[in-house]
């Protein structure tokens, strides 16, 4: 029966924790930037080659 875990597993564990933290932080940063950009009025939809109601509305206004 193995009683002691090899040192390499704890080292890998620490590395994975760091990687997880960094990935989580990246997601948080992207989320925050998205919120700020939307709040500042950045476009929510890009042109996707299909007709949308708001496009028709703007045509009517013109």
């Amino acid at each position: 029966m193995i009683l002691k875990e090899h040192e390499i597993y704890s080292r890998r564990g620490r590395k994975n924790m760091w990687l997880g933290g960094i990935m989580g932080s990246l997601v948080a940063v992207i989320f925050l930037v998205t919120v700020v950009k939307l709040a500042n009025g950045s476009k929510m939809q890009a042109f996707d080659h299909s007709l949308r109601p708001e496009m028709v509305e703007s045509d009517k206004k013109n």
Partner: protein, 317 residues
């Protein structure tokens, strides 16, 4: 050239700190600081979240360039005492891992900066990484004693990137900040080369100390410091300067000039006798010099923003 290391040294499982060291955190600190000042000094303001996220991209881009530089220079890093404990030459990280990390982080940082800020800033960051890795590391470093003169541009771009994050372009002030780092780099690195000359000779890196000797390098340090001082003082009369900048900049430049004159007047025998005490002191001072200049540019910007009745100051440039 870097595969040699992978064959010789048996790799252990790298720690997270080994990867972090690969990103040259000390260089990253200076890059982020100067980019932040460039961003702050720009005439346009952006949301703090966008600013922090963009600076994070600049930091990652600088780290990526550092990793790629270590990948390419692993063979000479092993020879040089100063760099022999870096992750690749010490066998903690393989050169392939460093290359992969460098490429992934380069692409990620440029792409994210394009999305967070603007395409111009992202393009400038991409060019900076390219300049540092290809123009400086791969080409100039081992080819000419002018390596750090031209290659210094790579370290000088961050305030321009910071400025472009906020403004979307280039301004005269951002070019002046670029020039400040560009002209500061040669005396900074040549002072280092004076007391690391054996390392560079052993690794066959054609630093000025190796190709033209110590006396010529000492003269070059003084000439570049004179040019740097003129530029630094002139910047006091631009829109990023001001009375506080002038008050801090003048004594710093006098100190740097006096140090350079003392360095020039020293002989190699005198330097060897005290183990390059003065050269080491001026080298450390030069780092403080740059931090102080950019710090006071940042302080000027904040003061001007907070107090509209700040002392009237001539803006000639």
């Amino acid at each position: 050239m870097v595969e040699i290391q992978a064959d010789i040294i048996e790799h252990e499982e790298p720690e997270a700190s080994d990867y972090f060291e690969l990103l040259k955190p000390k260089v990253m600190r200076l890059v982020v600081f100067t980019a932040a000042i460039g961003l702050l000094a720009a005439p346009n303001s952006i949301h703090p979240v966008i600013a922090i996220a963009s600076l994070l991209c600049v930091a990652i881009g600088a780290g990526a360039a550092g990793a790629l530089n270590m990948w390419w220079d692993a063979d000479i890093d092993l020879i040089m005492k100063r760099t022999s404990t870096r992750p690749i030459p010490s066998g903690r990280i393989s050169s392939d891992q460093a290359l992969a990390l460098g490429i992934i982080l380069s692409i990620l940082s440029v792409m994210m900066l394009g999305l967070f800020a603007n395409i111009f800033a992202a393009g400038l960051l991409a060019f900076t990484i390219f300049f540092y890795v290809v123009i400086y590391s791969m080409w100039l470093k081992r080819a000419t004693p002018q390596n750090i003169v031209i290659g210094g541009a790579a370290g000088a771009f961050p305030p321009m990137i910071g400025w472009s994050i906020a403004s979307g372009g280039v301004g005269l002030e951002s070019i002046l900040m670029f020039l400040l780092i560009f002209v500061w780099t040669p005396p900074h690195f040549w002072t280092l080369a004076l007391f690391m000359n054996q390392d560079y000779s052993k690794a066959k890196v054609p630093m000025l100390t190796v190709t033209h000797g110590m006396i010529s390098t000492r003269k070059h340090i003084l000439v570049y410091t004179i040019a740097l001082s003129i530029l630094a003082v002139a910047m006091a009369f631009s829109s990023v300067g001001g009375p506080l900048y002038f008050a801090v900049c003048v004594p710093l430049n006098i100190w740097f000039l006096l140090g350079s004159i003392k360095i020039m007047n020293r002989t190699d025998e005198v330097s060897l006798a005290d183990n390059f005490k003065l050269e080491k002191k001026i080298f450390v001072f030069s780092i403080f010099y740059l931090f102080a200049h950019f710090g006071v540019i940042g302080a000027e910007t904040v003061i001007k923003a907070l107090s509209p009745y700040y002392i009237a100051w001539p803006e000639i440039i």
